[in-house]
Subunit: 353 residues, 2 copies
DNA sequence: CTGTTAGCGCGTTCAT
DNA sequence: ATGAACGCGCTAACAG
């Protein structure tokens, strides 16, 4: 492998000092035209590339933005998170900032070393390693107040929290808006005449179910009705949220109770639900409508006539997260914002009751 | 934002020199136990985090591996490339190396600056910016010999080429094996009795069609038969490879010619083909079998009874690419390898002819 | 055992 | 218009 040609090599070759090279290549007006031309030519000839690491190191910046994820690497082929990341990547690229990935170690075995074990515990520590100017943080669960306090006080790099449900003081945040999007869904379904609305949650104990239920409860109360807790189905602990057997059992029970529409946690769950309903001999959406959140994956678009989506622009969300990172770098006052969710404009996939 | 506490701050506070701090924290045996403990305690108290940028800068390494892509950022939510990237990310993470993304600028407008324009032209130049120890390169088309020559001679960082079809001397390579996988497909289909095999290609002029056709030609000749060029359908230039109208026309034509199975370029194309065949009143796989390559996306798994896949472990491929990067760093001799493609073991989705 | 010095590659002074 | 010197944070070599 070829050794890097440094500014010193170039200076030696050109018979000048490194300072002159630096000035010549950064278009400093105080350098003789003739010298500059000679240097530029020589730089091309020797294929000199300034070492950005060194340059940025001196400046105390890295022009790297971290993306921290506590989820496994399937975020790279997941329609939801992948699109979010895609947005971040685009914004960063246009800004000539590199996107660097950090994954938590919580799934890896500890080797017993205390320092390492501690790092594995919080994971976020790694973001303070000096290799990034700040990070966009995708937590699995809400950040604890203890963690928040620590990073507010000690972190030399700003953190943008995404996918949090609570507002954590002192951080830029882009929440996924589980509560919000369920409200949008409920309003939409009410407008289509649905009164008995079912839902399939995610694994028990998580924020998704909590926030969703809160939205259901609030909305039904506001309309002078009571939400039946039996209509909110939570897959057994440890089960895949798209497990066919669980889904079939839940859907059958909902149907028996006269539920007319089921809200699924993600598009995949929705697609499976539709398949199961059809196998049960039910017509979708006439006998049961199915609704979910996000953007349809390309493969799922075949389901478009039956699956209705409460939509959001995830790539725009990613861009927004990057903007927050930039704002935080500039020292601006933290802002919390939710993804914007919109009701469908094409009503063909949700029955009118 | 808090200022970083540096090794100097720590040294001042502890009443020792930076050298001692460095040794104490890197478990150098030549430091008194008492001193080390004092320093470790103080480091925790002040939340000192060694600046990895500085540390690695001195060592002349970055512990960053680049992933260069000439494809848009949908690689982040694409089932094929996303899984490949996922494998790279896992391997890098386990090795405590960060994954940094580089995207080509070929889709962005030039601002007229000559240097920038040149960079936008090749794109790969950016990989020599000193921020990474090497890179995994996902090109859209094969690397030109001119480019190859340049990087062989001038690049201070090793490049691992993926998705290339040609073997380029002097580089570690993981080819996607378009030729190979088609051979596997053809052998499998012959073993199931198929003699008239159709295929849908990608946009005209690309390597995919070229390599596929070569495989078809070779295989048929070897078996004393002639492959009918009419059986290889190429979508019109500029059309989406899953365009319904084009697919319908192609499939109808294939059926008329007595073709019994169609090989699709990717799983999405395959899924659409199945839908179209069904709409045309044909039974899949009895009247026409559909086969494709890769790993089924989760959403596509609903098609399992009808869509047959020539399989490969893409995450393993990503890991392999990372191994190649490591080997290249160690100065090992370049190796070219193809993804390993396997015929299905469950034959229910391909009819016996 | 610990302090001192030098230097990684670069940009930015301050001189000349 | 250019050279010389310094420093970013850290580690390694050399002293003591």
């Amino acid at each position: 492998m070829k050794k890097r040609t440094t500014i010193v090599d170039l200076a030696r070759e050109a018979g000048v000092t490194p300072g002159t090279i630096s000035r010549a290549l950064s278009n400093d007006p105080r350098v003789k035209q003739e010298t500059r031309e000679k240097i530029v030519l020589l730089a091309q000839k020797l294929h000199y590339q300034p070492n950005l690491s060194a340059r940025l190191f001196k400046k105390g910046r890295t022009r790297n933005v971290g993306f921290y994820s506590e989820l496994p690497t399937w975020v790279f082929y997941n329609n939801y998170f992948g699109r979010l990341i895609s947005g971040v990547a685009q914004a960063a690229h246009e800004d000539d900032v590199k996107l660097v990935f950090y994954f938590s170690n919580i799934f890896l075995p500890s080797d017993g070393d205390v320092v390492k074990a501690k790092r594995e515990l919080t994971g976020l520590d790694a973001l303070m390693d000096g290799r990034i100017d700040g990070a966009i943080v995708l937590k699995d669960e809400d950040i604890t107040e203890e963690e928040a306090e620590f990073f507010r006080a000690k972190s030399p790099v700003p953190l943008v929290l995404i996918n949090n449900t609570l507002e954590t003081q002192g951080f830029f945040q882009l929440t996924s808006g589980i509560y919000d999007r369920n409200l949008v869904a409920l309003e939409y379904l009410f407008s289509r005449g649905h009164k008995k609305i079912g839902a399939i949650g995610l694994s028990a104990g998580g924020v998704y179910n909590r926030c969703s239920l809160e939205a259901f409860d609030t909305f039904y109360k506001k309309n002078g009705m009571v939400f039946n807790l039996e209509w909110f189905k939570v897959p057994p602990v440890g089960h895949d949220v798209s497990n066919s057997d669980d889904l079939a059992k839940s859907l059958l029970d909902l149907k028996k109770q006269g539920v007319t529409v089921v809200i699924c946690a993600d598009d995949l769950q929705g697609i499976f639900a539709i398949e199961i309903l059809k196998k049960m001999g039910l017509r979708v959406p006439q006998d049961m409508s199915v609704l979910s959140f996000g953007q349809l994956a390309r493969e799922s678009s075949l389901q478009a006539p039956t699956l209705s989506m409460i939509e959001t622009d995830l790539e725009a969300g990613g861009r927004k997260a990057y903007e927050f990172f930039k704002a935080a770098l500039e020292g601006e006052k933290p802002v919390a914002q939710s993804l914007v969710w919109k009701a469908p404009t094409d009503h063909s996939s949700v029955a009118k009751v």
